[in-house]
């Protein structure tokens, strides 16, 4: 009986130096984190799964069956087929568009959406770029992400994309401030900008319980920032064809759709980290903690995503005035109130600890 490890070592030592280096690189922590989990492969597969999940759920809400035939189980391969269909469509660039911007902006949108995953920890140590200002970096990339959308609408030089573009500019103007204020509330109560430490601070009680107002503000801004129903006025199909994406087709449309879904999922993960206790959860018997932590994290995020996807089936679309009023008139004061309550609670807590 030959030991498989010994056998592998023999083969490994017999290989040329270049291949040995390549194997070492493929097995290195950096490559596994960047390429497999929680990096490129994981986020792409999760994006595909999420689109399938949402279509299935939305179909059930409206008493349909949803994807059925492609793939053995419940049409699970439908999305792969859809992606292949988009890739095999002719690349049409309408005349009169600003060609460089028109082609580059979907790519930039996809890159920015995927970049959000670099700062999200999926367990202690399971993060691509651990940083003490992880939350700020996430917000920075989020704040950049309207740029490709607005420029894509501008580059199309067509009336429906123009209307969609002005709508999304107004919408994102209105919801970035409450999002930032809700995140500030989290920073105030956990006393850190490090996402891993924010999760560790929620061992006793998740922040969704102690900061109900902040959680509500975050949930609404999540929907608005990612253009989900009832806040999908920039792409409202019934009104302005497909908003700022009207002129896009084929591979460009695929990139935009993938970017939008990755952004929704990244926000669901952020919500899980900030308010639902991240990867904390009861230990699963038989599974070590380093593996059960990401499982809890993904499960919680999927619950949040289910909520987001359900809203699509349940709520009608808001008008732009209602969207703007909700952002400026209700969410911002609510977010400020949340800050004051959090500050008051920490003041009381501090004076208690001084008297004790």
């Amino acid at each position: 009986m030959i030991d498989p490890v010994q056998q592998f070592l023999q083969i490994y030592n017999a290989m040329p130096e270049a291949i040995q280096t390549l194997l070492r690189f493929l097995y290195s922590e950096s490559f596994i984190k960047a390429a497999i989990f929680p990096g490129a492969l994981f986020s792409t597969l999760l994006g595909i799964f999420a689109v399938w999940f949402e279509r299935k759920l939305f179909a059930r809400v409206s008493l349909r069956i949803g994807p059925l035939n492609v793939g053995k189980v419940a049409g699970i391969l439908q999305l792969i087929a859809d992606a292949l269909k988009f890739l095999s469509k002719e690349r049409i660039i309408p005349e009169g568009v600003n060609k460089p911007l028109f082609v580059l902006m979907p790519c930039l949108a996809l890159i920015l959406s995927l970049l959000l995953y670099a700062f999200l920890p999926f367990g202690a140590g399971w993060v691509i770029y651990p940083s003490d200002i992880g939350l700020l970096l996430f917000f920075l990339v989020t704040a950049l992400s309207p740029l490709p959308i607005i420029l894509a609408g501008y580059a199309s030089r067509s009336k429906y994309p123009f209307i969609g573009m002005s709508r999304i500019a107004l919408q994102l103007f209105g919801y970035e401030v409450p999002l930032f204020l809700a995140l500030t509330g989290v920073v105030l109560s956990t006393r850190t900008l490090n996402l891993e430490k924010i999760v560790e601070a929620q061992v006793a009680v998740p922040l969704a319980v102690t900061q109900v107002l902040g959680f509500i503000v975050f949930l609404v801004t999540l929907l608005a920032e990612t253009e989900r129903l009832p806040f999908d006025i920039p792409t409202a199909e019934g009104e302005i064809v497909f908003g700022w994406q009207t002129e896009y087709s084929g591979v460009y449309f695929l990139m935009i759709q993938l970017a939008m879904f990755e952004k929704v999922l990244a926000f669901c993960f952020l919500g899980t980290l900030l308010y639902l206790g991240g990867w904390l959860g009861p230990p699963i018997p038989g599974i070590p903690e380093s593996i059960s932590a990401p499982i809890w994290m993904i499960l919680k995020a999927l619950v949040l995503f289910t909520l987001v996807a359900l809203l699509r089936g349940v709520y009608p679309r808001l008008t732009i005035e209602k969207v703007l009023d909700l952002g400026w008139k209700y969410l911002i004061p609510l977010a400020f109130l949340n800050l004051i309550i959090t500050a008051g609670v920490s003041l009381v807590g501090e004076s208690w600890s001084i008297t004790l």
Binding site: A34, E95, I128, T184, W328, P333
Partner: protein
């Protein structure tokens, strides 16, 4: 000085950036391999929902929502002030009380503004007609 841990993390981030940056070109290459190429004049026309194409394609920015853009300028500063105040509050309990005071002033302003906002739009419209 960079510690080795930071180095590895930065390297992972750069690797991830590289991987995300090659994703769009890969999509594009697959599309070049799979997609047909049969351009025609009709395909290149802008989508007009069945109407005759307009000579001027740019739509004007809806001016009726302009007040919201103006208040964004004020609120962006408010948000930054709140963030700095919060960072200051984390330092000591003295600054906690001071920060609470600043926050309550800002909050009172925000609530007052939200009560005044409906009339702001009308006032601007009246000013435009007068």
């Amino acid at each position: 000085m960079l510690t080795p841990v930071v180095d590895a993390a930065l390297w992972t981030l750069l690797l991830y950036l590289l991987l995300t940056a090659i994703a769009p070109p890969v999509f594009y290459l697959v599309s070049v391999l799979l997609a047909p190429r049969r351009p025609s004049r009709v395909k290149k026309m802008l989508f007009e929902s069945g109407q005759a194409p307009l000579p001027s394609r740019a739509a004007p920015f809806p001016i009726e929502y302009f007040p919201y853009v103006i208040i964004y300028i004020a609120y962006a500063v408010f948000a930054v002030i709140a963030f700095i105040v919060v960072l200051d509050m984390l330092r000591s309990s003295e600054s906690l009380i001071r920060g609470l005071l600043i926050l309550s002033v800002i909050t009172a302003g925000a609530i007052y503004a939200s009560a005044q906002l409906p009339s702001l739009k009308q006032r601007l419209e009246r000013g435009a007609t007068a």
